[in-house]
């Protein structure tokens, strides 16, 4: 964990490129290599978590139990959530941070390159541990990704201990990644790059990193308490010994609510880079964007109990958490209006990154609105634990976080690979994803409002048609992601040569280096005007 900074002069710099062979990837301390590793790891997890979702949608294709046993279905819903949250979305953003933050602030590398290597390589270990539980006697985690006690303590499968250690490893990895991001942003900015000149992606990541440092230790704490309850006879969450299962929910959601912003804020930053580029206008309201992001981060700490309106918190508590939650709509609205104002009267073109970015703004807003519906405490009593909740958080996570990652990938792929991706296939990927995603998740609003509970393998006949539509959409969305894999591989292997700045409206230091970005960049800090 020493603060080693590559200190070679520019003359030496062209002499060494990446090492050869497999050990390059194991031993690398280069931010671009580590970024690439994170992104590939995240994509593997995305496909794995996605295949679990395919199992879920296949089982829900028709009412009745057809394909998997209910016990296995529970493991699929749990693992789908855990892998998508901790394995796909979070590492993808860390990968983007690794690749882009040094390029955006004119730094030669991350501030702590060796720690960077360690924080990546913890992840394969953590997920190997987690996934191995599926093959153990008694099965893997089956208590939902929120692992409420006592389901995850008293009634948990034996493998829960592996799950706990996997969470510990992921937490350590995230915390180290966050420390690295903060150290890089606060110490390695090129001279003249003041905080308020930083690209918004850097700003949102700085704030996200502070959120990570604040809440990942709390997650580590809550799984440690579970560990002690299970193995060391404590009673944090066991009423028999004087504990309280509701306490689990409070501690978990104290982590869990900021966590949902951890998964969306970096996407906000990327979208704030992409929309101005393809509107050929500077971002509208840069300063308000920064303050809005900081306000969202602050509010995320005081709204956690809106996940637990039905546990029986007092009326004053319900009101406080309801109003605080509704308040989040204000800074989020500022952001949405700023994006729309950026596009207003711009010279818009709709290349693939822009398509994903525009879809992000529209669909994320739909997810935001269903979030407002859920925030209203008396209405939440009706919606709680139904498919309406599933529809809501998939609308903020799929067209939010995932589309944000797709948009970023297409946007920076020419910089990473030196080739332009296939625009036709990119647009096809967008439209199939867009239709598939809406087909999957929009009907869930209806079945949820009609009362279909989440996390069940079977359902009442009245929900049959909508579920079949959801499943068809799900298969479509899932299969489409193989097209994305093909597009990325095709772009790495060849394609039209990308210039240093492939998008004519783009701003930022990352476009001042050639494409593909050389192995070492900004060994002498650039001039910031």
């Amino acid at each position: 964990m020493s603060a080693v900074i590559d200190d070679h002069g520019p003359a030496q710099d062209h002499a060494h490129g990446p090492a050869k062979g497999l050990m390059r990837w194991v031993l690398t301390t280069n931010h671009k290599d580590i970024g690439t590793l994170y992104l590939w790891f995240s994509f593997c997890m995305f496909l794995l978590g996605g295949s679990f979702a395919m199992v879920i949608r296949a089982e829900l294709f028709q009412p009745g139990l057809q394909i998997v046993a209910p016990a296995f279905f529970n493991q699929m819903t749990t693992m789908h959530g855990l892998i998508m949250v901790f394995g796909a979305v979070m590492p993808a953003f860390v990968g983007l941070a690794n690749w882009m933050i040094p390029l955006m602030i004119g730094a030669p590398d991350m501030a702590l390159p060796r720690m960077n290597n360690f924080s990546f390589w913890l992840l394969p270990a953590a997920f190997a541990l987690l996934i191995s539980t599926l093959f153990m006697a008694g099965g893997g985690p089956n208590f939902g990704w929120t692992f409420y006690a006592p389901l995850s303590t008293t009634y948990a499968p034996e493998s829960v201990t592996y799950f706990i250690f996997a969470i510990h490893l992921m937490g350590i990895s995230s915390i180290m990644g966050a420390i690295n991001v903060i150290a890089t942003i606060l110490n390695l900015r090129a001279p003249g790059m003041t905080l308020m000149k930083m690209p918004l992606f850097v700003w949102t990541w700085l704030i996200t990193a502070f959120l990570l440092i604040a809440v990942m230790p709390v997650l580590a704490g809550v799984v440690t308490m579970m560990l002690m309850d299970i193995h060391f006879g404590t009673s944090f969450f066991s009423a028999a010994g004087g504990g309280d299962p509701v306490l689990f929910q409070h501690v978990f959601w104290f982590f869990g609510h900021p966590e949902v912003y951890i998964m969306i804020l970096p996407a906000f930053g990327a979208i704030s880079a992409i929309i101005p580029t393809f509107s050929r206008k500077p971002l509208f309201g840069y300063t308000s964007m920064v303050y809005a992001t900081a306000s969202i981060a602050f509010l995320s700490f005081i709204v956690w109990a809106h996940h637990m309106f039905v546990v029986g918190i007092p009326l004053v508590g319900e009101l406080f958490f309801m109003y605080a939650t509704l308040l989040i709509a204000v800074p989020t609205g500022v952001k949405v209006f700023n994006w729309v104002s950026t596009m207003w009267q711009g010279s818009l073109t709709f290349e693939t990154p822009m398509l994903f970015a525009v879809a992000f703004v529209i669909l994320f807003t739909i997810g935001g609105f269903s979030g407002l519906m859920l925030a209203i405490a008396p209405a939440d009593f009706q919606y709680h634990d139904t498919y309406f909740v599933v529809a809501h958080f998939h609308y903020v996570l799929v067209p939010g976080a995932i589309f944000g990652i797709f948009a970023s990938t297409y946007y920076w792929l020419p910089k990473w690979t030196g080739h332009m991706y296939d625009e036709t296939l990119g647009k096809l990927h967008f439209w199939l994803s867009f239709v598939g995603m809406n087909l999957t998740f929009f009907p869930m609003h209806f079945v949820g409002l009609a009362g279909m509970p989440r996390r069940v393998p079977d359902y009442n006949l009245q929900f049959a048609d909508f579920n079949m539509v959801s499943s068809i959409g799900g298969f479509m969305f899932g299969t489409t992601q193989l097209l994305f894999l093909f597009i990325v591989i095709k772009c790495i292997r060849g394609g039209p040569k990308a210039p240093a700045k492939p998008w004519d409206g783009a701003e930022g230091l990352e476009w001042s280096v050639p494409s593909p970005a050389p192995y070492h960049t900004f060994t002498t800090p650039p001039e910031i005007k």
Binding site: I5, A111, A178, L186, G221, L247, G312
Partner: protein
């Protein structure tokens, strides 16, 4: 290039933040208990009540009694009556019956909860089996009195409250060797 002492200092501060937040996670446990007590939320009742109150003959409150066995608990456990209509300030009694139908001695702990939760701080127990643990020999049964006072200051809109007990088998954690109603005061005062 930034100097490495600045990076080191920053990293140390961030690590300190991590340690503080980890500790904060655990601090939430006592904070939660204190908040629940202070605001009388979550339906948790306080320990033994020592005070006395003057009876308010003008007001009546209906108190219902529920008994539930936690999973895997095989004892019989029930109150002798479903409900009582009481005057605030008066001392009332309800007898609960437990019996151990198994062929081995067992230890149990009853955990109370009051609904609506805001009434919990106005429900005073002067005597309760839930203050201690119960040890029953094979086949033994026991009648356990529970005496309580509903506070005169309880909000007027509460006309009806429910006291629910859940009985947990804690034989594994507290083997019934200490015989007879182990007075384990160190655990909890309910």
């Amino acid at each position: 290039m930034a100097n490495s002492t600045a990076v080191k200092r920053l990293v140390l501060r961030l690590l300190l933040m991590v340690v503080v937040m980890f500790a904060f996670g655990f601090a939430l446990v006592p904070i939660y208990d204190v908040m629940c007590k202070a605001f009388g939320i979550n339906g948790k009742t306080a320990g033994q009540y020592e005070g006395e109150q003057v009876v308010d003959p003008t007001r009546q409150v209906r108190v219902q009694f529920l008994s539930t066995n936690a999973i895997d608990m095989v004892w019989e456990f029930y109150p002798k009556g479903d409900q009582l209509v009481v005057n605030p300030g008066a001392v009332n009694e309800m007898v609960f019956v437990v019996s151990n139908p198994t062929d081995h001695p067992m230890t149990a702990q009853a955990v109370p909860s009051i609904s609506p939760a805001e009434a919990a701080q106005y429900f005073h127990k002067t005597e309760c089996f839930c203050f201690t643990q119960q040890v029953l020999q094979p086949g033994q049964s026991l009648e356990m009195p529970m005496r309580f006072i509903v506070d005169r200051d309880m909000p007027k809109d509460v006309k009806h409250l429910t006291l629910a007990y859940t009985l947990f088998d804690i034989t594994a954690r507290h083997p019934p060797v200490a015989a007879n109603a182990g007075k384990d005061e160190t655990r909890l005062a309910r």
